[in-house]
Symmetry: C2
Subunit: 116 residues, 2 copies
DNA sequence: TTTATTTATCGCCAATTTACGATAAACTCG
DNA sequence: CGAGTTTATCGTAAATTGGCGATAAATAAA
């Protein structure tokens, strides 16, 4: 008997975390996020100069990050300036550090003993 | 003139972070990781009972997490017990908290002013 | 209005992902 | 050996992703 009838129900946290993680699941996008985290904001053009990918490809990656809520674009004709979405960036920080148990990893001795 | 000749070169950190993030980019896999982080270890069978997805699908997700190095499986016939890969879990924790700037976010007033 | 600049979107294609059922593999027990 | 249990793998199909060039859209400047 298969148990595939009910659609899996995920908590909002799980969904949000997965959305953030998925958006971060490409080295170029990590690179972009690091850049925005380090040096405030930047233009699409700056990225196309420093990253050897087609302009359209970089635009796509920016779209992915924007749709995940991690960055936001301020339109400053004829350019567009991208920055981290600070609110969501903090949400992401909280969710990830929560998952990894940052700040209360001390007595966390988790062994994999065979007690089953 | 297109600048698409050189293949993009990513740092090991960026690649590793993206690999971890990608593996975490699905709510079921977040769920599994949370479970393993909370209650030590568990068997594939436990997951198939609590998650309404086909057994083969869950096995696939476990494979993704294992290949990313986030979990490991101990074969305990006829079952297989999965745990977090603690070493890599700590690596992931370090990389993510590093990216989010955990512990030194105090004077980080990053505004998005138009100085360009 | 035309031209130049910058960015987003479209169409396309190859590769990957996600899900499933069916089946194989490994091991235990009778 | 044969049957039962548990998990992984295979085959398949639909959807998504990642890359590109070409083109559209928006705006400034001439």
């Amino acid at each position: 008997m298969s148990r595939t009838l009910a659609k899996p129900a995920y908590s909002n946290e799980e969904k949000q975390l997965a959305t953030f993680a998925k958006a971060m699941g490409h080295p170029v996008r990590i690179q972009i996020l690091k850049l925005l985290n380090d040096q405030a904001c930047c233009y699409t053009g700056d990225l196309t100069e420093s990253i050897p990918l087609a302009q359209s490809t970089i635009s796509q990656h920016l779209k992915v990050l924007k749709e995940a809520g991690l960055i936001q674009g301020e339109i400053l004709p004829p350019k567009v300036k991208y920055c981290l979405n600070q609110d969501n960036w903090q949400v992401a920080r909280r969710l990830f550090t929560g998952l990894f148990g940052v700040a209360f990893i001390e007595g966390a001795s988790q062994t994999c003993n065979s007690d089953g």
